[in-house]
């Protein structure tokens, strides 16, 4: 049994883990940078260690400092949260070497699934459908051309080590290959220190659907109702919901079965998410996130399962309290409140929170590290709060979401709050099942009364 967990993260996810520890009777250790001296994760943990200056490289990514903090405080496990070191196989390996339990899968599994090409190979091996494309890496523009001749255009070149759209290029015909290959490879090299790329069919009108899994590493596996994360801006998720609206039952079941197959093949341990694209009635594996995700509360609200408690249970060797296919009760939706100004090109906002009163009442959950007076620093990501709502139906969840967004009082910084209200007013979103192009296909306009609305810019909405 784990007695003390060091939380190698900050912000709302650090709080999330600290809350779970407290509820399980596990002691928690916060680590913090000098910029986070007044952060709630530092204040609410049982112990706290300053690990470096504000820069993430010197603090939340500073492996020696974090390991030292764990050793000094006698922590027997480290929970990495998401981001920072959560999918860093080397960090997991160091934890293993130092006899500190890394809350997550083995470093081997992280490394295997962190590389897109090897993850695709695992999918192929286990019969999980992948997007038609190159068989592994493409090492030249000529190889890209060969794949194009085989599966047709448009294609997309993607960075093997990538994510967030970096090192990604759409190729609409053969004569675009040379330029696209060169720039994608260069960008990937610059962003990830690895210029390897691969090629896939470019799918249009696609939806991002993912399946949360839990596994105890001893054959026990649980899958959860799929989440739809198609509302994205520049590959950053903004709204997530579960179940995915309007998905055919066979696609739903197919994805969950594929996720379970992958997890069993990997001998997976802990929480993970298998991500798919869904287009033209088919689903294809894209990648697996070998960690807790930002949007995990959507699944928690729709199933009643505490995923972080389960993670800690597995890491403690106590196994899972759930198994098989967890049923969805009603509908849940998450809205990410980011410190970005939607009226000015999503310009990041920093500075003090002047007034903060999160919404309450039935079916509302807020995960946030904010309080009035907290200063949003420029060093870290822009997520301020997650608002998650739960109701019997998707329609009721949307109304609850609008109600809660409406009463969410956060003064001092511009946030994505008015964008979410605009999304909830959009007819296509309300019908459900929009594609990942949803936001790109629309413009944000002021309605003249201080509110925003979305206007489709000519192109038909999904």
């Amino acid at each position: 049994m784990i007695g003390k967990v060091l939380v190698a993260n900050r912000g709302e996810v650090a709080l999330r883990v600290i809350r779970a520890c407290r509820e399980l009777g596990i002691r928690s250790v916060a680590v913090y940078s000098t910029a986070d001296t007044d952060s709630l994760h530092r204040l609410l943990a049982d112990e706290a260690v300053c690990i470096g200056p504000p820069s993430p490289a010197s603090s939340y990514l500073n492996v020696p400092a974090i390991i030292s903090a764990a050793e000094l405080t006698g922590a027997d496990a480290i929970h990495p949260g998401y981001g920072f070191l959560a999918e860093n196989a080397r960090f997991a390996e160091i934890c293993e070497a130092c006899n500190i339990k890394f809350v997550g899968p083995s470093s081997r599994t992280i490394a295997l699934m962190g590389d897109k090409a090897s993850a695709r190979e695992v999918a192929v091996m286990t019969g999980v459908p992948i997007t038609p494309g190159s068989d592994g890496l493409c090492r030249s523009a000529r190889e890209v051309g060969r794949v194009g001749a085989e599966i047709g255009y448009p294609l997309v070149i993607k960075a093997s080590a990538g994510g967030g759209g970096k090192g990604m290029r759409v190729v609409r015909s053969e004569d675009e290959i040379e330029a696209a290959y060169t720039s994608a490879s260069r960008e990937a090299g610059a962003a990830f220190g690895d210029g390897s790329v691969y090629v896939e069919r470019y799918l249009q009108e696609l939806r991002h659907i993912e399946v949360q899994v839990l596994a105890d590493g001893r054959g026990g596996t649980a899958t959860f109702p799929e989440r739809d994360c198609s509302i994205q801006r520049r590959y950053q998720k903004l709204v997530e919901e579960s179940p995915a609206p309007g998905l055919p039952e066979d696609a739903r079941e197919g994805m969950k079965a594929a996720a379970a197959t992958l997890v069993e093949h990997l001998g997976y341990e802990g929480a993970g998410t298998v991500e798919f694209v869904y287009a033209g009635g088919e689903f294809y594996f894209i990648e697996m996130n070998t960690r807790l995700q930002v949007e995990h509360p959507v699944t928690e609200m729709v199933t009643g399962v505490d995923l972080v408690a389960e993670q800690l249970g597995v890491a403690s060797g106590e196994g899972l309290s759930v198994a098989g296919d967890a049923p969805a009760r009603g509908h849940a939706m998450e809205f990410r409140i980011n410190a970005e100004d939607p009226r000015r090109g999503f310009l990041p906002q920093t500075g003090p929170v002047e007034f903060y009163t999160p919404p309450g009442g039935p079916g509302v959950r807020v995960d946030s590290h904010l309080y009035a007076g907290f200063k949003v620093a420029p060093y870290y990501d822009s997520l301020l709060a997650k608002l998650i709502v739960h109701a019997k139906t998707r329609e009721a969840a949307m109304r609850r979401g609008a109600r809660a967004l409406d009463e969410f009082a956060l003064v001092g910084l511009e946030t994505t709050q008015p964008l979410h209200l605009a999304i909830l007013e959009d007819e296509a979103f309300r019908r459900g099942g929009v594609s990942t192009g949803f936001l790109a296909e629309r413009e944000l306009r002021s309605d003249g009364r201080g509110l925003l609305r979305l206007v489709a810019d000519g192109r038909p909405s999904a």
Binding site: T34, D38, L43, A48, V49, C50, P64, L72
Partner: protein
């Protein structure tokens, strides 16, 4: 809850009113808005009259917040209190050792004169022995961390009275 360093024990005696007085002077003279000193269990706050928007009170999450024990409290031990002293802080998280090896004498003692670059102590992190050099020449007037105990990033280790 438990305290974890000798610095915490500093003050079981009377109130350090001289310190407060000096802070008030400092505040009045300096024209700054607020001075707060917390050292282990001791905390002194001096604020100027608010002219500008009022400060929000800090979040007080029930009694637990006050009970957070820490390896040290780096950010709150302000340099101001030390007047002309120069403070040497830990650049890494680790274990503080005053001597190069067990059984050997300490690198420095209070009263020693040190030169820039001279090793003052070791902070061990992940089996690496980080020698911490003096970044000011002068006299060691205070050793602020305890031998073989953990130190945080930025935690004060020594006070040096610089040579003039």
């Amino acid at each position: 809850m438990s305290d974890s360093g000798s610095t915490r024990e500093h003050s079981k005696a009377g109130l350090p009113l001289d310190d407060v007085g000096r802070l008030v002077e400092l505040l009045a003279e300096s024209g700054v808005g607020e001075i707060r000193v917390r050292q282990g269990e001791l905390e002194i706050t001096v604020k100027a009259k608010a002219e500008a928007p009022a400060e929000q009170p800090a979040p007080q999450a029930a009694a637990r917040v006050e009970a957070v024990p820490e390896v040290g409290a780096p950010a709150e031990l302000p340099a101001e209190r030390n007047g002309d002293l120069h403070m040497v802080r830990s650049p890494v998280v680790g274990t503080f050792y005053r001597a190069p090896a067990p059984g050997e004498g300490p690198y420095v003692e209070v009263g020693d004169r040190v030169k820039v670059g001279q090793t003052l102590c070791i902070v061990e992190a992940m089996k690496l022995m980080n020698e911490i050099p003096a970044d000011s020449s002068g006299e060691i007037v205070e050793i602020l961390a305890e031998n073989a105990k953990g130190v945080e990033y930025d935690q004060p280790l020594f006070n040096i009275r610089p040579e003039v």
